[in-house]
Symmetry: C2
Subunit: 298 residues, 2 copies
């Protein structure tokens, strides 16, 4: 697919805004929609068109990108916007809808099946790499759904991300993202418990980090969040409320398969405590404060 | 301290044998003792002297290295060997004893206090990096105890390790090693749960590893143990029974401080199940089989 394509981008938050900007910079003809119109202003100033509804944004687009917070938000865009338009014959034939949100894998499969009935390919394409990855176009994009549609839009995805992986059929992108989040959160917990142990045993935490970071104990979480935990710097980064949403999705998907993952459940409970402690807008490294308190209370 | 020093090495297992060999190669005059004399043969062939008891090994040594399995083994060497010899005025004045074993921090402090009464400095100096680190002299050595004694023996440690860290007073080396083991084992658990989730959701595990290893989910455990879990290759590596010994030490040291670390307790219970399943001599990546079974049973 050429980069000079009519595309729509729905959802212009911390992630969506820079991602849509990369598509514009790459030469796409871009129509945008967001709940808050002011968020679109920087893109409109660069030549993007505004659409007052998701349905209107989708109408002339060969590819529709969605980047919204949660499952019901995607369902609203798809079921209340794109689907009625498609049913009325009011979208480009063979349209591809690309969902960059992190949402339920089973809801994803359901929407993909419904849209397929109208000749629309729905690809789940959640991302990792955070807001800096979105700004620098270095995101990892994990894609599920029709492989040839993925190949078709590869040049567009390449404008936004560095590592593009086709993970399997519909839902496989979401499931892979949840695998990522299980790793991220339980490894974070490892760092929290290790530093709690270190601090309560009066070790020098800087020296401790230096001694253990280079070997078999090493991780991205330790290297990046460990020093912030030691400094008590809980600024986000990746906010606890977003991490917790992803862990809820992971727990639901695990339950769908009859799986009980004990460490995942544990870290979900600890993040729930963090939210009770009004830490929802802090970075995930603030889990350290919760773990330290819980370890001493028991 | 010059490398041409009289040293003793007690305990010639998978770790101790190559470590002692590096001291010999560096120019030390080496006396060795081990429970099984045959293990010393390669060193004796290269000019090391045999001592029939730990006390005899220690007698003429300026520095005595110990590398044995567990707390009681070190206590036996120190309390039944070195201490009586020291009390009889039968060791080199100002002797330094370096314990490379991973053992109890509180037992370490007790032995250090007793030996200090006889003018002997006891340094705890547990290592990480495994048998390959021992063979290649790339170990991380985490040292607790008198700092000037650590500086004095630095050239000797440098012959065996790459990263030398003075962690603090007596016991701090052991505590830092336990921090390392908490990180290693809980991060391992993160990988086990993530891959269980992936497999039960019928993801392609190779693709999944490729998609998630490079970012915020990445760790040494994921990169090194993940592929072996996927292949069902449970050959050691680091044996489960040794990992479990270290986790027991970590739990005891946490309890000494009134700390209850939930993820550490969880992974300790899972390794106990692994041992019940006769996996004690498998590598720590075999935790995957236990986690997968437990997740499906609940």
């Amino acid at each position: 697919m050429a980069l000079q394509t009519n595309v729509a981008f729905i959802g212009l938050g911390i992630m969506g805004l820079p991602m849509a900007g990369h598509l514009l910079a790459a030469g796409c003809s871009l129509t945008v929609h967001s709940r808050t119109k002011a968020k679109a202003d920087p893109l409109l100033a660069r030549g993007a068109r505004w659409a007052v509804t998701p349905a209107e944004a989708a109408r002339h687009a060969e590819v529709v990108f969605i980047c919204v917070p949660d499952t019901p938000d995607v369902q609203q865009v798809v079921m209340d916007g794109i689907l009625p338009a498609a049913a009325a014959g009011d979208v480009v034939p063979g349209q591809i809808v690309v969902d960059h949100s992190t949402i339920s894998p089973s809801a994803t499969r359901n929407m993909a099946a419904v849209l397929a009935g109208h000749g629309i390919q729905f690809l789940d394409a959640p991302v990792s790499g955070g807001d800096s990855g979105a700004r620098n176009a270095t995101l990892s994009i994990m894609v599920g759904g029709d492989e040839s549609s993925f190949e078709k839009i590869r040049p567009l995805l390449k404008a936004m991300g560095k590592t593009l992986t086709w993970c399997g059929p519909s839902g496989a992108g979401q499931l892979t993202k949840l695998v990522n989040q299980i790793l991220v959160s339980v490894t974070n917990l490892a760092v929290c418990e290790a530093l709690t142990f270190a601090r309560e045993n009066e070790l020098d935490l800087q020296k401790t980090l230096a001694a253990v970071s280079g070997g078999a104990a090493g991780s991205w979480q330790l290297a990046n969040l460990g020093p912030r935990m030691v400094d008590g710097d809980f600024a986000p980064g990746f906010m606890i409320k977003l991490q917790q949403k992803d862990l809820r999705l992971a727990l639901e998907a695990a339950k769908d398969r009859g799986l009980d993952l004990a460490a995942l459940s544990l870290v979900h409970r600890l993040f729930a405590t963090a939210i009770d402690d009004h830490r929802e807008n802090q970075g995930t490294q603030a889990l350290f404060a919760v773990v330290e308190k819980a370890a001493k209370r028991r």
